[in-house]
Every structure is written in structure tokens, then in C-alpha cells.
Symmetry: C2
Subunit: 172 residues, 2 copies
């Protein structure tokens, strides 16, 4: 096991302390970092009358052209009713386009429009800037290591799926 956590506060005596000492630092840093990370897009989304939910949908559709509703639900892990609310707005405002499936005409294949791709890219660049600022002046292996850490943080059940989605072949 890697280095133990620096002793943060003295606990009541008795329990097996070392193995169970909470990693307060990584827990809290994760909270603060994620909060700031999503705050960048928020400001821009506001101008369009969109929220974080719209961002997620737009992002994954942009990244996976032809995504079906079912696949999107599986990625976001929300109900179809929740998805539909924001998806409808994205379609109405012409950021996403929904086409009938060719093989299976029950399906709806989702595509980002030109406008949609532009917004998605703008938001991704914002977040990338923050990531690059963090990585700059760090060890060259930092990016790969962080990537591996985050992947291992994910539920083992879904990690293969995520790996495919993030790194895998461009197909869905």
C-alpha cells in the first residue's frame, strides 16, 4: 500500500487506525476541484439558457454521433423523463438533431448540429485550459497517471464500458 495519510487528528484510542484512516485530503480536494471544474461551463451555458444537464447531453452526443436514446440513458444514468426534458430543449433550439434509425426505425439517432458542435467544443476547450494549467510544470507522466487513477476510481462494473467510451473506437 502506498504511503499512509499524514496524521490529521488524533483519534480515540482503541481502533485499528492505520488501515482505516480516511484519506481526507483526496476526498476534499476531489470535491473542490470538481466544483471549480464544472463552474467554467456554467457561466457560458447560462447565456444560452442551458444548465449542466444540457451540457452533459450535448457533450456525449457531440462525442458520439449517432448515439441512441438508450445508449445516452446508459451513459448518464438518469431516467428517460429527465433526459427528455433537456433533450427536447436542445433539439428545439437546434443544438441537437434527432434522426430516425435506419436499421431499426424505432430508434432515434442523435447528432449535434453545427451550432451544437461549436458550443460543445467551446466548453471542452474551457475545461481543457484548466486541465492544462494544472498539468503544466508537472511531471510528464502526470497526465497518464491521473488518467489511470480516475479510471480506477470508477466502479469496476462500468469501467470497461467507460474505457471503451473514452478511449475506444470512435464507433458506438
Amino acid at each position: 500500500m502506498p504511503d499512509a495519510i499524514p496524521a490529521l487528528k488524533s483519534h480515540q484510542p482503541g481502533k485499528d487506525i492505520l488501515a482505516e484512516t480516511p484519506a481526507y485530503d483526496l476526498i476534499e480536494l476531489f470535491f473542490f476541484a470538481y466544483r471549480d471544474f464544472v463552474s467554467d461551463p456554467d457561466r457560458i451555458l447560462d447565456e444560452y439558457g442551458f444548465g449542466r444537464a444540457h451540457h452533459r447531453v450535448l457533450h456525449f452526443v457531440g462525442r458520439n454521433p449517432g448515439l441512441t436514446i438508450a445508449e445516452l440513458l446508459d451513459i448518464l444514468r438518469i431516467t428517460k423523463q429527465s433526459l427528455n426534458r433537456v433533450l427536447k430543449e436542445l433539439i428545439d433550439k437546434d443544438f441537437i438533431e434527432s434522426r430516425m434509425g435506419t436499421a431499426d426505425r424505432r430508434q432515434r439517432l442523435l447528432f449535434a448540429t453545427e451550432q451544437g458542435r461549436e458550443l460543445a467544443l467551446k466548453l471542452a476547450k474551457l475545461q481543457t485550459r484548466r486541465i492544462m494549467r494544472a498539468l503544466s510544470d508537472m511531471e510528464p507522466e502526470a497526465k497518464d497517471l491521473v488518467s489511470r487513477y480516475l479510471l480506477r476510481l470508477i466502479d469496476p462494473d462500468s469501467s470497461a464500458h467507460v474505457k471503451h467510451l473514452v478511449f475506444g473506437s470512435e464507433e458506438t
Copy 2:
């Protein structure tokens, strides 16, 4: 199939391009990792009739005994009305105790009760288990590197404050 990532490939090695290529992998991994990371506590909080908002309050009060309302608001960056809603429930259910300030009697100093500390610890251990599983078999320097990465992801404005809160002297 249209490619959603116009600027990603097949470009001359211009400096601008490189700097602007979205780090889709780290962006998406961050999303999935954070989602699973907070899902562990969710299940337990449910049994108590609490939500994520309660968790955050309980966590930071537990970690910083004697925290004032103003300091807690500064950490969470929510309105006092939002805070009060969940804080009241935590106090009513005897997970947090509010004492009048000694130096300044207008202040309320917050403390986790025995029950509160137990729950906070239980949740922190859950998340720690996930973190340790991720770190196991990784390079020994992984923990430190991830910690530095997350800290650098935070807004420069607040990073000193966060650093103090996470690593700093136990006092508030």
C-alpha cells in the same frame, strides 16, 4: 459518419492547435469518477433520510469542530437559506450541535455529535476504500501527484484557502 472532433487529428503541428486540443479523456473520466465517488455515500445517507447536501455539511463540521456559519458558507459557497434547511435537520436529528460563540456571542459554533462523527467517519471510510483501491498497485508517488493535480485544478483564488483547509493547521 461525421467526426465530432474537427480539430483533433490531421493538422500541421502548430502550437495553437496543440494547446487547444480538448482533453476529452480527462474531462470524461473526471465526470464518471466523480459520479461513482459520490454514489457510495448516497446509499447510506438515504437510510438516514439525508442527501448530499447533508453529507457536505456534516463532513466539514466534523473535520472542523467549532466552525462558524459564515465559515461554513464560505466553504460550501451556497446561500445561508440553503444551508439552514439542511443544517436544521442535522441539528434536529442530533448529528450536529450548535453552541453560542464564546468570544462573539452572535456566532454559532458547530460541532458534530457522537452520532454525527460516527456517520461522517463511516462515509469517509467508504470513499477512502474506493480511493485506496484505485491507488493500490499504482506508483508510490501516485497519491502525491494526484493530490497536487487536484489542487492545481482549483481556482487560483481559492487554492490557498483550500490548501489551508485541507492540509493546514487544525484551527479554523
